[in-house]
Symmetry: C2
Amino acid sequence: MPKKRPSNKDFDNEEVFPQLSLDCVIFGFNDGTLKVLLLKWKGTEYWSLPGGLIRQSEDIDNAAIRILQERTGLGQIFLRQFHTFGKIERYDNQKIISKLSHVIDPESWYDRAISIGYYALVDYAEVFPNPDQFTDECQWWILEEVPELLFDHNEILKKALHSLRLELSYQPVGYNLLSEKFTMPEMMRMYEAILGSKIDPRNFQKKILNSGIVIKLNEVKKGLAHKSPNLYMFDKVKYQQILEGGGLFII
Amino acid sequence: MPKKRPSNKDFDNEEVFPQLSLDCVIFGFNDGTLKVLLLKWKGTEYWSLPGGLIRQSEDIDNAAIRILQERTGLGQIFLRQFHTFGKIERYDNQKIISKLSHVIDPESWYDRAISIGYYALVDYAEVFPNPDQFTDECQWWILEEVPELLFDHNEILKKALHSLRLELSYQPVGYNLLSEKFTMPEMMRMYEAILGSKIDPRNFQKKILNSGIVIKLNEVKKGLAHKSPNLYMFDKVKYQQILEGGGLFII
């Protein structure tokens, strides 16, 4: 007998694309640290990235926005499609079924699916993490402490981090993540948190100022013990121009 | 009556993914010029990018390699997945059907498909262009002269060119495109052809030498009228390290 096929409807009874899914790597930045949002599957100790199916009635970008909104409560966020994962053996199907058969119907499981990867970068102080119908916890994890994930999600996370770091080298990042007014050390700490490595402060300041994306204000930050560093803000017009021009802002 | 669905088999009778395709932007470089490979559909004056379906039995990367090999005869080539196109209205279905109904069965046409985009960069002197079962010509076009293409292929081409140019700024390119030994002006002309703009020669040479991807030889190029420029070759180990390390080679 041929294997029964899934109905191609999602939980809101919307028609979806067969053999296709979408996975979201949601990076959270706050106070000098970079984290990632993970879901714990019901009745297990297994974690995965948030994800979902793509409806026939929506653009794939809108599917990503919908899934991110469902998990974080946030609307306007920095979101990028970064890679589509389509190896034959992305993960061991039998292993997944044996771990999750109490939550998902093995009969509705395709032998193979292709997944479109998106990553987002959000201020995690503003997020209200929200599990989906398969999971009962949605939590931030420090990058270095992420456990072995279900499916091929460790690989997807690794690729997303690589893409974000690359993007940081040619596109401005930070609007919505830093306060409206910020100091150069604060901005540099954001870059260091994302890159996972130290930056040379003098070179950094020179490159950021040359790029024109920040405006130096006639104000200093007060209340610090020994110094009063200058405040800056983003030049939103220039920032947007570089984003839309698609780069070649080299840091 | 519900619309008849395609059989989900390709022309070799292999099972394929439904509602999913793959489009390839094949850039050709030779003698200081960048071109793109296009197909002309049978009995029409309409052109499109090469593309195809993804078999259930192959990785998506291998589907791209197969399609590229079928169209160019080349095996080992520089190939990158760059974007997946998934808007609801990628193009006007009715228009496409009216233009191509003599070649494709309108009944086997999905209302909507998602396409995974790959680009390749090849030495076009080595390519034997080869049309597929829907087309009767396969030809190189100068980028600036590309006509209005079928589907959303002008948009896909534009995005591919943008991705290639971006990649040029952080990854080494040129192995297999330049002769084994080449001069700095020859390498620079390759960069200029891809970028579509002039480069400052002194800055270029300094950055390429600093990157460590080329080795200066104790040889000069002879036979030129007024000067004998130095010859270089790629340091394959360093070149490969940067490729695999995933960049941050900033030109």
